[in-house]
């Protein structure tokens, strides 16, 4: 049934994590752009996004998919890193570049997950392996 595929928890989780990956890419782009701006504090996806998702999908019983669908990742200042530079900037270029390539791999994995869900649905409709 179409419903069981498009309502699966995995599909929704992948969708939300994709949103998170896009937002993280924006945050990293901002960080690298401001690598030499005095006083700039690095941004990241706010921690409560991942926390809420994890809590929702690891709890006993069915996840509340309507709630998950309405969640939006936000960027916020990353207060966990301290600035070691004289100008008060907390961006480290190397760790940003590493975070970016890691985020890209995450993103490709998630697009693959979502893509396979849709392929599976197509296969169910047409009866052919695409």
């Amino acid at each position: 049934m179409i419903e069981s595929i498009s309502n699966s928890a995995n599909f929704h989780l992948s969708q939300k994590l994709l949103d998170g990956a896009i937002t993280r890419q924006q945050a990293i782009a901002t960080n690298i752009a401001n690598v030499e701006t005095p006083g700039f504090r690095r941004l990241d996806v706010s921690a409560d996004f991942g926390r809420t998702l994890r809590a929702e999908f690891t709890k006993a019983g069915k996840a509340d998919l309507a709630m998950v669908r309405s969640m939006q990742p936000r960027v916020s200042e990353d207060s966990s890193v301290r600035s070691i530079r004289a100008d008060g900037n907390s961006v480290e270029l190397e760790s940003e570049l590493l975070a970016m390539s890691r985020n890209q791999v995450d993103f490709e994995f998630l697009t693959e997950m979502v893509g396979r869900h849709i392929k599976g649905l197509k296969m169910a409709i047409t009866g052919r392996v695409l």
Binding site: T30, N34, E36, I118
Partner: protein, 138 residues
């Protein structure tokens, strides 16, 4: 929502770093200019950056790009050398040279071009992500 995520921040950074590279090139080119339009030796220019908040139209609130805050003139006095044969020498035969320090400019040049490259790789990465998004369901 932009299709290529974070491209607004990267664009601003690329053009800011490009301005910095231009200014460094100007400093190096004028490292021996003893007479500018004002009749004095060239004073080196420095670029400073500031963060600029992106509007809500860019999708996510709280993101910022970077822009050139101002291009200042470095007021440090230039070195004075004794060269009576120089056309710009004063009565005592002293010539004021520009306050450009070539090794400092070279270090700045490398820093700026590294920052430019880092932003370019962000742009490349964002483009690849956008293409992957278009591949969903294919």
């Amino acid at each position: 929502m932009e299709l290529i995520s974070g491209i607004a921040a990267t664009t601003g950074a690329l053009s800011a770093q490009r301005t910095r590279l231009d200014i460094i090139a100007q400093n190096i080119a004028n490292a021996h200019t003893t007479r500018g339009p004002d009749g004095k030796a060239y004073q080196r220019r420095t670029v400073s950056f500031e963060a600029e908040l992106l509007g809500a139209s860019s999708g996510t609130v709280g993101l910022s790009t970077v822009r050139v805050a101002q291009i200042q003139i470095d007021k440090t006095p230039g070195q004075r050398i004794n060269d009576p044969g120089h056309p710009d020498a004063d009565e005592e035969g002293m010539v004021t040279m520009p306050n450009v320090n070539l090794s400092m400019e070279m270090v700045d040049l490398i820093t700026a071009s590294r920052a430019y490259e880092a932003n370019l790789s962000v742009a490349k990465n964002a483009r690849q992500m956008a293409l992957k998004t278009l591949q969903i369901g294919r």
